[in-house]
């Protein structure tokens, strides 16, 4: 579903990444006509000032963790030597998140320009657009866009500033969910299966073939040229209630108009659902929302007023994550949705940490039993036990995400689980 192609989009305010004139596909002249290239020009003029602008803008990672972008860039910039890599993470495979495919497929140049600015800021001469190949024409579009940049003389200016030729390429990821985890990105780009690795070392210190590597989400990078072009204060003023910038929300579930919405950071949840999503499906009552995707804490009706920004959502005990909002109405089963999500995690687990693979399977088995009406109190007790003993048992965040959504649904909808028990 792509709500942005609807005319309703034209009346929405404050669109930075999805304004209609930016939706130029792989056309570089189209991007330049929409003001593209100015951000990179500013960056070339004041290379040392790039990271400071991002810091003042308050840009945070939009791939899930919300880590302050300038700190990651500083960490890579501080590493010695010219052999560094910038990777744009466009693997996007989590259920309910469908923002990066829009950016990369419809307006890839801002993402690429953001990656080039990153290369300039951290001193990297290798730039990789790492893209999920299972998203229709997205990867071919990025490849075309990359080819257009390669022919652009600005790359020579970049090379002059960086003291050597700059390589820019589009690379197909494995398309597996786990392939989006940052150390798995590194493993895949080294030619291995995308198994997450132990951290530390973090990619910023030792990434692709041991080179310091900056990995940012596509949406994070997309903001960068606009920030450099219009300034930090402008970016901050795009948000609401003190939160900076805008955010792409992947709205799905029991709403009238599911789709992708770019709104000011800090837009209240109720406004996203009511004004943009057209309210609840078939007039049903709101029950809950899986905030930030299927690996986070659920928010309930008491939290409809929460401003959707990193800090406000965290203050309610949840996380903004990727900005996915999977809405559930009365009449839709929470245990059913949670079972589906945990099955996804069990399937996606890469298996190198046995507690992750076996634990998520066991959780899925127990949940499935309850959901299908055969569960007992002992099964529910076993689920609770697993939620306590599994966290931290994996190399990556997959196992903890699976536990978080189960534990949160038990905490907030325990009665619903109880009502489904057989004995």
């Amino acid at each position: 579903m792509d709500a942005l192609t609807r005319d309703q989009l034209a009346i929405e305010p404050a669109r930075v990444l999805t304004a209609p004139d930016l939706l130029v596909g792989s056309s570089l002249p189209g991007w330049h006509a929409a003001g593209g290239g100015i951000g990179l020009r500013r960056a070339l003029e004041d290379r040392a000032g790039i990271i400071g602008v991002l810091e003042r803008a308050g840009l945070r990672g939009l791939g899930g963790a919300g880590f302050p972008t300038h700190r990651k860039w500083e960490a890579v910039a501080a590493q010695p030597g010219p052999e560094k890599v910038v990777v744009c993470n466009g693997n996007e495979d989590e259920p309910g998140t469908f923002k990066d495919r829009f950016l990369l497929g419809r307006t890839p140049h801002q993402v690429i320009e953001g990656a080039l600015i990153a290369a300039l800021a951290v001193g990297a001469r290798q730039v990789v657009m790492y893209v999920n190949p299972h998203l229709g024409s997205v990867l071919p579009t990025v490849a075309e866009a990359v080819a257009a940049w390669r022919a652009d003389p600005v790359l020579l200016e970049l090379a002059a500033a960086l003291g050597g030729p700059v390589t820019l390429e589009a690379r197909a990821s494995s398309g597996r969910y786990i392939g989006g985890e940052e150390t798995a990105v590194v493993a895949w780009l080294e030619g291995s299966f995308p198994f997450p690795r132990r951290k530390p070392p973090f990619p910023a210190e030792s990434g692709v073939h041991g080179k310091p590597t900056l990995i940012n989400n596509a949406e994070t990078l997309a903001h960068v040229p606009h920030i450099l072009r219009h300034g930090a204060a402008w970016f901050r003023s795009r948000g609401r209630g003190g939160a900076p910038g805008t955010k792409l929300f992947s709205l799905s579930g029991d709403v009238q108009r599911p789709g992708l919405y770019e709104l000011p950071m800090g837009t209240p949840l109720a406004e996203l659902i009511e004004e943009h999503g057209g309210g609840m499906l078939m007039g049903r009552a709101f029950k809950a929302v899986f905030t930030g995707g299927p690996s986070n804490t659920l928010l309930t009706a008491d939290h409809l007023d929460v401003p959707l920004d990193f800090d406000s959502v965290r203050a309610r005990g949840s996380r903004l994550g990727t900005g996915a909002m999977i809405v559930v109405s009365e009449g839709t089963s929470i245990p059913r949705r949670v079972t589906e999500f945990v099955e996804f995690f069990a399937e996606s687990s890469c298996g190198q940490c046995p507690p992750c693979k076996t634990g998520t399977y066991q959780l899925a088995t127990l949940l499935h039993r309850i959901d299908s009406g055969h569960g007992t109190r002992a099964d529910l007790d076993s689920i609770r036990q697993l939620c306590g003993l599994l966290p931290g048992s994996g190399r990556c965040g997959l196992i903890d995400g699976a536990v978080t959504v189960v534990a949160s649904s038990l905490e907030r909808f325990g009665a619903e689980y109880e009502s489904m028990l057989r004995g």
Partner: protein, 204 residues
């Protein structure tokens, strides 16, 4: 006495008992997860345990693991394989036929990703990944040796992201070896029975 938490229930058990005995002491139903009742041969009591203060959980057999104070335990259900691997043991005596049959039954075995998930999952500490490699390279003798202590708990099968069912590959190798070359002591004893050198009492 020590305190443990098993499948959501708190239990007290005397020091030095196994997790399985602690579960029995806690009054947990010893049905799905117990077969040989503590002899370490059936592999049914597979569990995840988290020791007090440990950084991660680990996979164990409850009958072979000493219960510790503050330990948390989750038994793991019987794990059924996505597909069966049927074969006629008597047809495995010919090495060529056995090798072809194995490739046919376990096509994924050649796709091992060397993630070592199976090695880490194995409560017996076997080199499962190596055993799979030995079997796929046709060395059933070595594979059978590697899997000699396998009790078919299925923990490696549950862990393996390629659905290789390493333990079943191992079992196949052990059977293929036995089909062509029974252990010498067994052959001698059978020979003694068949030739009458050893009397066998049969109950009427």
């Amino acid at each position: 006495m020590i305190g443990v938490e098993i499948d959501g229930r708190s239990a007290q058990a005397p020091e030095g008992t196994t997790v399985l005995l602690a579960a029995a002491a806690a009054g947990l139903p010893l049905t799905g997860n117990v077969g040989c009742m503590g002899q370490g041969v059936c592999g049914a009591c597979r569990a995840l345990v988290r020791r007090d203060g440990a950084a991660t959980a680990e996979t164990v057999l409850a009958c072979e693991t000493r219960a510790e104070d503050g330990m948390r335990v989750s038994f793991l259900d019987r794990f059924t394989l996505p597909r069966q691997a049927p074969y006629d043991e008597t047809a495995l005596a010919d090495g060529w036929a056995a090798y072809e049959r194995m490739l046919e039954l376990f096509p994924n075995a050649q796709n091992c990703r060397h993630c070592s998930g199976c090695d880490r999952a194995c409560p017996k500490g076997l080199s499962v990944q190596t055993g799979v490699m030995q079997a796929t390279s046709g060395d059933f003798g070595a594979a059978a040796e590697t899997f000699a202590l396998c009790v078919m708990c299925n923990l490696c099968a549950a862990a393996c992201p390629e659905s290789i069912a390493p333990n079943h590959v191992g079992l196949f190798a052990r059977r293929a070896l036995a089909a062509s070359q029974r252990p010498t002591d067994l052959i001698r004893r059978l020979h003694q029975i068949v030739t009458g050198a050893m009397a066998v009492e049969t109950t009427p």
